[in-house]
Amino acid sequence: MSSQTDPASNGQPGPRPISAVAGGRASSAPVVGRDTEPTLFELSVPGRHAASFRTTQIPEWAAEELVPAQYLAETPVDLPDVSERDLVAHFTRLTHRQYSVDLGAYPLGSCTMKYNPKVCDEAASAAAFANVHPAAPPACTQGWLEVLVELEESLCAITGMSAATLQPAAGAAGELTGLLLMRAYHESRGEDRTRVIIPDSAHGTNPASVTLGGYEVTTVGTNDRGGVDLDSLRAALGPDVAGIMLTNPNTLGLFEEDIVEIATAVHEVGALLYYDGANLNAILGVVRPGDMGFDIVHLNLHKTFATPHGGGGPGAGPVAVSARLADFLPGPRPARLDDGRFAWAQPAASIGRIHGWHGNALVLLRAWTYIRLHGAEGLRGVAETAVLNANWLKEKLRGTFDLPYDRPVMHECVVSAESLDKATGLRALDVAKRLLELGFHSPTVYFPLIVHEALMIEPTETESPQTLAALADALLLVAREATEEGAAGEARQAPRTTPVRRVDEARAARRLVATYDQRS
C-alpha cells in the first residue's frame, strides 16, 4: 500500500492532495499476510531522524576546526532517515517474517537448537556485566574474572580436560585454535608433521580449518556400521600425521564404538586426538572426551549450553586441553590467585591471542548461567532426554523413511528419503519445504554427505513428546502425500504459507545484488 496520493485523481472534487508525503513509504503497510516489506532505505525521508544526544556543554567547534579539511568528507554517508516509530515498525515487521526457537521446534541436525532459558539473556543484559569495558583493570572486573574462571573449570569438568581457553568466538575458531595448539605441541618436540586425518562424515569446517592451520587433509572412510573404518585409519596413520579430528557421536548421530582402538592407534604414532564438540549434547555427564583419549576439545556453547544463535551468531567455541597442552593455550587466561582474587595470566608457551579481547564474554556468561541452572544431574538429564527423543522419533519414522545405519542413535538421527525419491520423486528438499508450511522448521538436509537424500533430525531435549509426535506425524504425512499423489503434489509446491515461497538461489548468484545500491 502506498501513502502517495495521486494529485491528478480523475478531476473529481475530493480531499485536497497533500504535498507533504513525497518520499518514504507508509509504515502501516499490511503486515499480516505475505506482502514484502520495503527496505529501510525506501522508508527514508531526508530530514527525518530518530537520534538525540546528551547535553554536554562542550564547545561546538566546527568540523574544520577539529580535523584538517583534506580529511573531511564533502558529503555525509547516506543512511536511512526515519523516525523512531518507523524504525521500530520496520524491524518489528521483519521479525514477523522470521522463524525462531521461541516460536517452535527447530530440529536442525548438528545445530542443537534447544530452548534458550530467558534468565541467561537477562544475566547478559545486566549493566554490572554488560557495561564493563574490556580494558578495565582486573581490580574493576573481579566479578567477570570469577565467572570466566568458574566457566573454564566447569568446561574442564564436563570434558575431562585440564585447562581451557574461552577466547574462540565460534566452533570454527575453536577448531583452528586446536590445530594451532597441535602444531605448537609437535614443534615443541622438534617434529614437523604435515597431515591431519578427517572422516568423510565430518563437518565442512573441519577440513577448512585444517587447511588454514597449515596442514593437509587425509580423509578416511566410514564402515558399514557408520563408524570410522579402522583399517583405512591404520593405513592412513604414520609419523607425518599431526592428529585426527573426530566428532563423537559422529554426524550420523552414532557413537564411535571403536574410539578406544582409534585413540590407541593415533597415540601410537605420536599424533593427537581432536574432539569436535558439535555433538557434545548427547554425552553430557555420561562419558567425557578426556576419558575417551582426546587431547583437544572444542565446545559450541551456542549448541550444548543453550546460548541463543542470534540468526547465525554470536557463538562461542572454547577449547579445553589435556595437561600436556595447557602451556600452549592462547592467552591471557583468567586466573584464580592464591589469595582468592582473580587476574590475567599468560601461559608459558602460548600460541598467542586468537580474539581481539577475551572472547564473546556475554555468551560465556549465558553458558555459565545455564550450567549453574543444571548442575551435574541436570546436565545428565539433558543428554538422556535428548537421546531418548532422537531414538523415539527415529522409531516413529521407521518403515517410511530409510534408516541407512540402523543402530541406536545418540542425540540425532539421520534418515533418508532415497526410497521415497525413487518411488515417488519426493526429495529431501521437498520434505524440508513441506514441513515449513506444516509449522515446523525443517531438519538439516543433504548432510552428512555420505547419506543420499539425508534428513538429519535433532529434536533436542527441550521438545516435549507431544511436539515429537506432531513432528513425526508431519513427516509421515509428507511421505504419504507423495505416495498417494506423486511428487507433483503437495510437497513440490511447498511452501505456500511462508512469507516467501521457494527462492531462486541460482538467480541470486548469477545476478548478484548484495546491497540496495546494487539494485538496478
Binding site: V88, A208, G285, L362, V387, T515
Partner: protein, 454 residues
C-alpha cells in the same frame, strides 16, 4: 533432577522407553563402551534455581565496575577498540526481540526473511561506510576481520608478504601473528614516527607484497595518510587493507574513496554493549571484483517461485561446507545478531546522526585533549590530527594513573604497552571521548588526573 527446561514427566519418559523396548535411561547409552562411561556424576557446583543463580550473579556483579551512571559506575575514557557510545532504548528493545535472538542461520530462506533482509540492509550500510561495493554479513570481531582481510589480499595477489603498520590495534596484530603460524604469512611491521606510520622507513621498501595494512584512525587515535599507504600498495602490487573505525565515516572521507581495497573494522561502536569485549562485530567490505574471495556469509536479492522479491544467502560455493579443504575461510557461525543490531543503530542515527556522533565525539576529544594536555607534566604523544582518541605521556606510568583514577570514579583510559615495547608510545595513556562525555565529566577527570600524577 532434570532442569525445568526439559518438559518430560516421569510417566512420559517411562512410556517412551517402553516404546523403545528399554527399561532404563542408562540403556540408551549401551553403544558406549562400559569402561568409558562416567562412574559418578560430573564434578560441578550443585544445580540451582533461577532465583538462586540470579542472587549469585548480583553478588558477582558487585565486584565489577561498569561504565555509566550506576552504583560503582565509572566515567569511561577508555577506548582502544571498544567505545562507550549511546545505545538507545529502541535499539536495545528491537535487538533483543526473540525472533532475531533465537533464530538459526538463515539456511531455510522461506522462513528467515527477517534476518536475511536485516542483513541485506546491514551490508548496504557497511558498504557505504567503507566506501566499497560489497560487505559481508559479519565476522567475529575486528581482529578476525583483519585476519580474513589479509587472507583475501594474500590469496588475490599470491604474495605472502604482509606490510602491517605498527599503528594497527596491537591485539589485532597479535591475532594476525597467531593465525599466520598456520597460513604462513610473512608479516613485516612498519614502525611509527610521532604516532603515525613512517612510510619512509627502510622496511617499507620491499619490491613486492600481498597486503599493506593500516589503521584509520590508528590505535593511537591519529588519522593516517591513506594516500601514502595507497602509494606503497601500488608500488608493491599489494591490496590495501584499512582497519577503519566506522564512526569516523561520519566525518572523514571513507577509506574506499581514499584507495582502500579491503576495509575491516570493529563494529562495536554501532550500538553494541561494551560487554567486557564481546560479542562484538567484525566489519568486512571489499571491491566487487573480489567478491568471490569474500569470507563468511553474503545475502543477496532474488525472487521466489511467484516472482516476489526475496533474500537468500548467496555465492555459497565459497563457503567451507561446500568447498571443505579448498575453502579460503573456515567461518560458519558469525555475529549476525550484532550485525542486525548495527543496522538498527545506523537506522536510528540516520545520515545526520552518524555525522553528529562523530562530530560530538571529536569535540569531546578535543576538549579532553586540551584540558589534559594543559596539566603540568602531561604531553600529547603526537602532533598529528586525531578524531576521538589520543595518547598522552604522563610523568607516571599510565597503569598507575588508571589505578588511582578508579578511586575517583574514572576509567582514565588504556595503558599503551603490548605491541609497543621499546617505542616512544610505551607507557602512554590512551584516552577516548565519545558524544556521551560532558564538560563536567572532563573537567572532573582533568582535576583528578592532575592530583593523581602529582
Amino acid at each position: 533432577m532434570t532442569a525445568p527446561f526439559v518438559p518430560h514427566t516421569d510417566a512420559e519418559v517411562a512410556a517412551m522407553l517402553g516404546d523403545l523396548g528399554l527399561e532404563s535411561l542408562d540403556e540408551l547409552f549401551a553403544t558406549i563402551p562400559a569402561a568409558l562411561r562416567l562412574a559418578g556424576g560430573l564434578d560441578l557446583p550443585p544445580q540451582q534455581s533461577e532465583a538462586d543463580v540470579v542472587d549469585r550473579l548480583v553478588d558477582l556483579g558487585e565486584h565489577n565496575r561498569p561504565a555509566g551512571r550506576c552504583a560503582g559506575g565509572l566515567v569511561c575514557f577508555a577506548g582502544a577498540g571498544a567505545y562507550d557510545h549511546e545505545v538507545p532504548a529502541a535499539v536495545r528493545s528491537l535487538a533483543s526481540r526473540s525472533e532475531f535472538v533465537t533464530a538459526y542461520t538463515p539456511y531455510q530462506a522461506e522462513v528467515a526473511q527477517g534476518v536475511l533482509q536485516a542483513l541485506f540492509e546491514y551490508q548496504t550500510m557497511i558498504a557505504r561506510l567503507a566506501g566499497l561495493e560489497i560487505a559481508n554479513g559479519s565476522l567475529y570481531d575486528g581482529a578476525a576481520s583483519l585476519v580474513e582481510g589479509v587472507n583475501l589480499a594474500v590469496a588475490a595477489t599470491g604474495d605472502r608478504r604482509v606490510l602491517c603498520s605498527a599503528g594497527v590495534n596491537p591485539r589485532w596484530r597479535a591475532v594476525l601473528a597467531t593465525f599466520s603460524k598456520g597460513s604462513g604469512h610473512d608479516v613485516v611491521t612498519l614502525p611509527l614516527r610521532d604516532g603515525v606510520t613512517d612510510w619512509s622507513a627502510a622496511v617499507a621498501r620491499p619490491a613486492s607484497a600481498g597486503a599493506v595494512v593500516v589503521g584509520f584512525p590508528n590505535y593511537l587515535g591519529c588519522i593516517e595518510d591513506l594516500a601514502a599507504a595507497r602509494d606503497l600498495a601500488d608500488r608493491t602490487g599489494a591490496r590495501l587493507v584499512v582497519c577503519a573505525d566506522p564512526i569516523a565515516s561520519g566525518l572523514l572521507r571513507t577509506p574506499g574513496s581514499l584507495g582502500a581495497d579491503v576495509v575491516v573494522g570493529e563494529g562495536q561502536p554501532l550500538g553494541i554493549a561494551l560487554g567486557y569485549g564481546g560479542p562484538y562485530l567484525g566489519l568486512f567490505a571489499c571491491r566487487a571484483a573480489d567478491v568471490r574471495r569474500l569470507p563468511g556469509r553474503l545475502v543477496g536479492e532474488t525472487v521466489d517461485a511467484d516472482g516476489k522479491l526475496a533474500y537468500v544467502t548467496t555465492l555459497r560455493a565459497r563457503e567451507q561446507d561446500i568447498r571443505r579443504e579448498k575453502a579460503s575461510s573456515n567461518v560458519c557461525t558469525n555475529q549476525t545478531l550484532m550485525a542486525v543490531t548495527a543496522a538498527i543503530q545506523l537506522g536510528w542515527l540516520g545520515t545526520s546522526g552518524l555525522r553528529e556522533i562523530a562530530l560530538r565525539s571529536a569535540r569531546a576529544a578535543r576538549y579532553a585533549h586540551d584540558s589534559l594536555a594543559a596539566i603540568d607534566g602531561v604531553e600529547p604523544l603526537s602532533p598529528h590530527p586525531y578524531l576521538r582518541e589520543f595518547a598522552l605521556r604522563l610523568p607516571v606510568d599510565a597503569e598507575v594513573a588508571i589505578e588511582r583514577l578508579v578511586d575517583e570514579g574514572y576509567l582514565a583510559g588504556v595503558a599503551v604497552r603490548d605491541g609497543f615495547a621499546g617505542t616512544d608510545a610505551e607507557g602512554c595513556l590512551l584516552v577516548a571521548a565519545t558524544e556521551r562525555r560532558t564538560r563536567g565529566e572532563i573537567d572532573g577527570f582533568a582535576a583528578s588526573l592532575e592530583k593523581a600524577i602529582r
